[in-house]
């Protein structure tokens, strides 16, 4: 089998992994080595595939042979699909050739479980060794730790990779038992804890010894499949919050479940992937990480799922109308961040700009505030936008209308003569 064919099989098997980021690393170039990691906060996207997802790393599996039988997975033992495996040398060649041509930012290496988790991890380590030591590759590497691998091997992998990840896959233990019988919660959380502890130690060592080796300097991430089990958004969001708090993850990725196989325990094959739900979870994830929200503020037992009509921040704002309007000239940073339509960048710009003079409503748009949402929730120098009239009812309607064209899977609807929205 030639490399082209292997690449096709192993890319196809790896594409359901959501993570494809090159952020978090900040390694300058070194003499005699090729490459560096992007100094930009957001990483560097090298292309976008036809589904709109960013392509930044060469995302492939070492092999798609697998001894596990996770029901939701294309690569499961009982699925009749073509199998292939890269040799460590082939993979290293491919990575370095793509990297030199600026096709990619680095390598994302995951794998099916060939023989045992330890054997597979050893193969991955071998490929990364060739890449780092023989080719002197200094770019980004994201390596996946396979649940059940010996801690010594995870440790070796961490010194070769920039970021590591262990996939949680299913948001609850019951889900794991039903759909991924070979994985246990313990086997997933153990390497995650190890990566966290080792990463912290490595940072402490670096303070003492300047040239101490770095363990996964870009931290770790994980991935959850959304929609394969009956877990609510509230459950998923609380789990996410716990992971950020207790395991210091850099990112939690959500992957809308794409039905690839028929199974009694899974949604049927003609169910569309829950893209809107995934979108809402990402929005809420950002609120947790950058906006100072807690999961309990966004959802609760009475409202366990996100409102499909408006985003989580608007939803929170509509439930807390007494908090608004916020006066942009005096409100503190935290209060500004609570206004729908104001983000981290525009909030910081407002803080800087109001030292130069009082802000007017007209100025806000130029600072990057999304006024079609924000106008209902703020005042500038005591005034709201010109001619703005609304009631709590029309507010929801306006916010929904503002977002609808941007949503995934939004179908264009023929306007009806008899369906004109009531004037506000």
């Amino acid at each position: 089998m030639d490399v082209l064919e292997k690449l096709t099989i192993l890319t196809d098997a790896a594409k359901y992994d959501a993570a494809c980021t090159s952020s978090g690393g900040n390694r300058a170039s070194k003499k005699g080595y090729i490459g560096n990691t992007s100094s930009s906060v957001a990483g560097c996207c090298h292309s976008f595939s036809a589904d709109g997802r960013c392509v930044t790393l060469l995302k492939v599996l070492m092999t798609n042979c697998c001894v596990f039988d996770c029901k939701y997975c294309v690569n499961r033992r009982s699925n009749d699909t073509r199998r292939a495996a890269f040799t460590p040398q082939e993979l290293a060649d491919l990575t370095i050739s793509f990297y030199r041509r600026n096709y990619i930012e680095g390598l994302f290496l995951s794998s099916g479980v060939l023989r045992s988790p330890d054997h597979t991890t050893e193969l991955m380590i071998k490929a990364l060794r060739i890449l780092r030591e023989e080719y002197r590759f200094n770019g980004y590497i994201h390596a996946k730790a396979i649940p059940g691998t010996a801690p010594e091997l995870v440790e070796q992998l961490g010194f070769l990779a920039d970021r590591m990840s262990v996939n949680i896959e299913l948001p609850s233990e019951a889900g794991l038992r039903a759909l991924a019988p070979d994985k246990t919660k313990q086997a997933i959380l153990a390497p995650m804890r190890q990566i966290q502890t080792r990463g912290r130690q490595s940072k402490e060592e670096l303070v003492k010894y300047r040239h101490a080796p770095k363990f996964a300097p870009a931290g770790q991430s994980t991935q959850l499949i959304v929609g394969a089990t009956a877990d609510s958004d509230f459950h998923i969001l609380r789990l996410t919050q716990g992971l950020y708090d207790r395991y210091r993850l850099k990112r939690v990725f959500y992957s809308a479940y794409v039905p690839v196989v028929e199974h009694a325990l899974l949604p049927s094959k003609d169910v569309k992937p829950p893209l809107l739900r995934e979108h809402r979870l990402y929005q809420a994830d950002w609120l947790l990480r950058f906006y100072g929200f807690r999961a309990e503020e966004l959802l609760d037992e009475q409202h366990p799922d996100f409102n499909p009509l408006v985003d989580p921040k608007c939803s929170w704002a509509l439930a807390h109308l007494d908090f608004f309007p916020v006066e942009v000239n005096t409100a503190d940073y935290e209060a500004l961040l609570r206004v729908p339509g104001i983000g981290v960048t525009s909030a910081k710009r407002i803080l800087t700009a109001r030292r130069a003079g009082r802000l007017r409503v007209e100025d806000l748009r130029k600072m990057g505030v999304v006024m079609k949402r924000a106008q209902y929730f703020l005042t500038a120098s005591g005034r709201q936008a010109e001619g703005l009239l609304f009631t709590p009812d029309s507010l929801l309607r306006n916010l929904t209308a503002a977002e609808r064209p941007l949503l995934p899977g939004a179908e264009p609807v023929q306007l009806s003569l008899f369906d004109i929205p009531a004037p506000v």
Partner: protein, 285 residues
């Protein structure tokens, strides 16, 4: 104060000299044009000779007042903002008249157009750091771009650091200039005509591998062309490997005996899934 139109040679120093002369002659500028864009005008006009000494005096003064404005000036000069010289000139005039306080106000009518243009430039440079595609031409890496702004000065440090052991060049089709790098030295030079050399066997193979990777990584069930266009506008596609037609993937120096394969295996139009059959086994799930 009389109103004047100035002509300069198109260089950054030349532009700084326009500022110098406008103060020296106590004239207010209503337009600043490059020498080659000579347009008939009703205003009195003057051609400004470039004097490095004057230019550096102006620049030093601006750095002293506000280093941030100096950066805006340098970057603003690279943007594709129409009449950028006039906007930048007005920014300097306001800075010298009022001091740097107004620079905090992002919605200031003198500052905002420049700020927006510079953001556009930075955004384009950031995208191109990823979208540039190099070809290995016998050990030298070569690439082409078609940006709206003059991004080469911004891309220089990025690519020189990343490929510090390599030799490479990057050609800007829009502004007809090229960045050359070899042995730790980089220069940006005007280059009127450029034609990329055809790929050899190995290069064509890697192009094909990348194209195949790109076509395979998409999840068909999530097909979302609008999202792709938002993140990667179509104007960049022209120079990207994954959107080229078949000829791009055919080695030119291949022996004639092998025979032209017609469509090399695995090539499909952008956005379509790879053809069915043994070449793309997993895509049929």
């Amino acid at each position: 104060m009389t109103e004047m139109v100035y002509y300069y040679d198109g260089s950054f120093e030349g532009f700084l000299c326009c500022i110098f002369d406008s103060y020296a002659n106590k004239e207010v500028l209503t337009a600043i044009y490059r020498d080659e864009d000579l347009v008939p005008t009703l205003f009195a006009s003057r051609s400004i000779p470039t004097d490095r000494d004057h230019a550096s005096r102006v620049y030093r003064k601006i750095v002293k007042c506000s280093p941030y404005t100096a950066e805006l000036l340098r970057k603003g000069f690279l943007t594709c903002l129409p009449d950028k010289e006039l906007y930048l000139y007005r920014l300097v005039v306001k800075l010298l008249r009022e001091g740097p306080g107004f620079l905090r106000n992002f919605s200031d009518e003198t500052l905002y157009p420049v700020l927006r243009a510079v953001r556009h430039l930075n955004g384009e440079a950031h995208l191109l750091k990823g979208f540039v595609r190099f070809s290995d031409l016998g050990g030298v890496l070569g690439g082409e771009i078609e940006p709206k702004n003059r991004v080469l000065p911004l891309l220089r440090s990025h690519f020189c650091a990343r490929y510090q052991g390599e030799k490479f060049f990057l050609y800007d089709r829009t502004h007809r200039e090229a960045l050359f790098y070899a042995n730790g030295k980089a220069v940006i030079q005007p280059l009127e005509h450029f034609q990329m050399a055809p790929p050899d066997e190995a290069e064509a193979h890697y192009r094909l591998l990348w194209k195949r990777f790109y076509d395979t990584i998409v999840i068909q069930e999530r097909y979302n062309p609008k999202c792709r266009r938002t993140n990667m506008p179509k104007r960049y596609w022209n120079t990207m490997t994954e959107f080229q037609d078949e000829a791009y993937f055919r080695a030119q120096s291949s022996p004639a005996g092998v025979g032209a394969p017609g469509v090399p295996a695995g090539i499909s139009a952008p956005g379509t899934r790879p053809g069915p059959g043994p070449s793309a086994p997993g895509s049929e799930i």
